[in-house]
Symmetry: C2
Subunit: 307 residues, 2 copies
């Protein structure tokens, strides 16, 4: 087992979906990534920042899941990052109602000494300069995974492209892959991204699953067909957390093992969307994860005899 460094937001979210709305609840990319990685029994640390308004019980909960929070800076006089969004009826698009950066504005990540030798680094969606700052503190990382979004392509493209040269895996959604490359075909887009730095490209397609590209190979992980998606918030981060958590736990970074890791990510993401925020992930049992892995096997495995 190797260690996993997670950088990303730890935040308050207020979410509205056709099924209801929440007050300020626990959210943030690093939170979802950490909770998902914890399901894989990964030895992970969260590198992030919160304000004095962040409840101790949230910190306790993260610790109780086995997540190391020694990299979680608390700024007593500051306020925690806050995001608020409203999903449309089809759940595939949303409006951001509020984004208050607060303590994130002057965030300078510090990787705890005990985790500088981690083999796996998950760079959650953040300013590319912050992501770069984490990479530079690592001693000998074996696998750096990057998440990002269109906002950074629009506003900090040069810095983002520099970070992209330094990572092994990029995980972005289909529209972001198209924006980054100017290519409509996801196969062509993935090829182009592989020339920018990463050896592996994950393209997330929401309810249509995710594709993993490496050289001329492709692997496809479906999303579990669901009767209803209650709240999609954090699904992509949960996916990334399952992916990196499984890889860190197994210490095997081969393409073959990445297939398993991506299935783990898809399995955990399928739980995430069943309740608001992190509720489902917090209450998730190993038995449920095991049973859903079985469901994913039944969903995708066939046995045509190729003679």
């Amino acid at each position: 087992m190797s260690k996993l460094v997670i950088v990303g937001t730890v935040a308050f979210d207020a979410i509205e979906t056709p099924f209801g709305k929440t007050d300020k609840i626990l959210g943030g990319a690093a939170t979802y990534i950490g909770l998902a990685a914890a399901q894989c029994d990964a030895d992970s640390v969260i590198v992030s920042v919160v304000g004095g308004d962040f409840p101790q019980e949230y910190i306790d909960m993260l610790e109780s899941k086995g997540i190391n929070i020694s990299g979680l800076e608390v700024v007593p006089e500051g306020k925690t990052f806050f995001w608020s969004g409203k999903y449309h009826n089809d759940m595939n698009s949303r409006d951001t109602l509020a984004t208050e950066l607060n303590v994130l504005e002057s965030f300078s990540p510090v990787v705890p000494e005990a985790y500088k030798n981690a083999e796996v680094v998950m760079l959650g969606n953040l300013h590319p300069a912050v992501q770069l700052g984490v990479i530079e503190q690592m001693l000998d990382p074996k696998l750096i995974v990057l998440d990002t979004m269109n906002f950074w392509m629009d506003n900090t493209l040069k810095e983002l492209l520099h970070v992209i040269t330094k990572v092994d895996v990029i995980a972005i959604n289909d529209e972001e892959a198209r924006q980054l490359t100017g290519e409509y075909s996801l196969v062509t887009a993935a090829r182009k991204i592989m020339t920018m730095g990463p050896d592996y490209v994950i393209i997330k397609k929401g309810e249509h699953g995710a594709l993993l590209f490496h050289n001329d190979e492709v692997f496809y992980a479906p999303a579990l067909p669901l009767e209803e998606v209650f709240d999609p918030t954090g699904a992509g981060d949960t996916f990334a957390g399952g992916f990196t958590g499984y890889l860190a736990k197994t210490g095997d970074y081969s393409f073959k093992n990445m297939k398993n890791a991506i299935i783990y990510g898809a399995v955990l993401a399928s739980f995430c969307v069943e309740r608001f925020g992190t509720e489902r992930l917090q209450g998730l049992s190993r038995k449920e994860v095991y049973q859903r892995l079985k469901t994913f096997q039944n969903l995708t495995q066939f046995d045509i005899e190729l003679t």
Copy 2:
């Protein structure tokens, strides 16, 4: 091995895509279904109608593939069904430029005596009354598969719903499933359709693959991620032809074997879209099919140890 009865159009198509346009070429649902089923070595017959303008060389080609054409009526004084369409840039939508029913207008299907005992029936997209006419001629079918489209939902819903009560499998696309049920969730839509008659529901999602539902089980067949789709015409019919051809060839109508059948359908559809019309299917070798089945294995199979 059991026999397969295919009913559907045999037609002229004129197709325009961003990559080019064709004159009148060979098309029609039954043509694609038959060519795909032939790749599975199914013993199939096409029940359809063409006009005196239909070239003998097309008929010869179908026969050379091992497709029985004793159910293909030729109306010497009539004209063959003609469809013309133009695809938009994203290839996911198209405009119909012309539809000339011609001999199809008065088509009364006759299943040849030698095929009335067939176990598998593939009802290609046609007027529900014609589909019903075929069902009524069958002696003891084991598996009736129905394709249809929004046009029949709009114009002949009552007759369509009657046919739906008589089939075992329905294969429609996502938008059609939503229209038929009024449900946005495909899982909910599939459940609702299973109460209308069919025990199995296939929902085709184009480039996002296809889902097979049966009771509470789901199987997902991806579409092969392609750099470019040259011409999507006939992909759904090819998929249906691979599905029913494989089932007829193996004579095993279990849910487990349907998973294999759906993969066969997806494999053959992935070839269909590589060239205009039936060109790719006509020239397809067994070796190519075998290799692409391997590709689909690599695309979807993983080996997480569930202890």
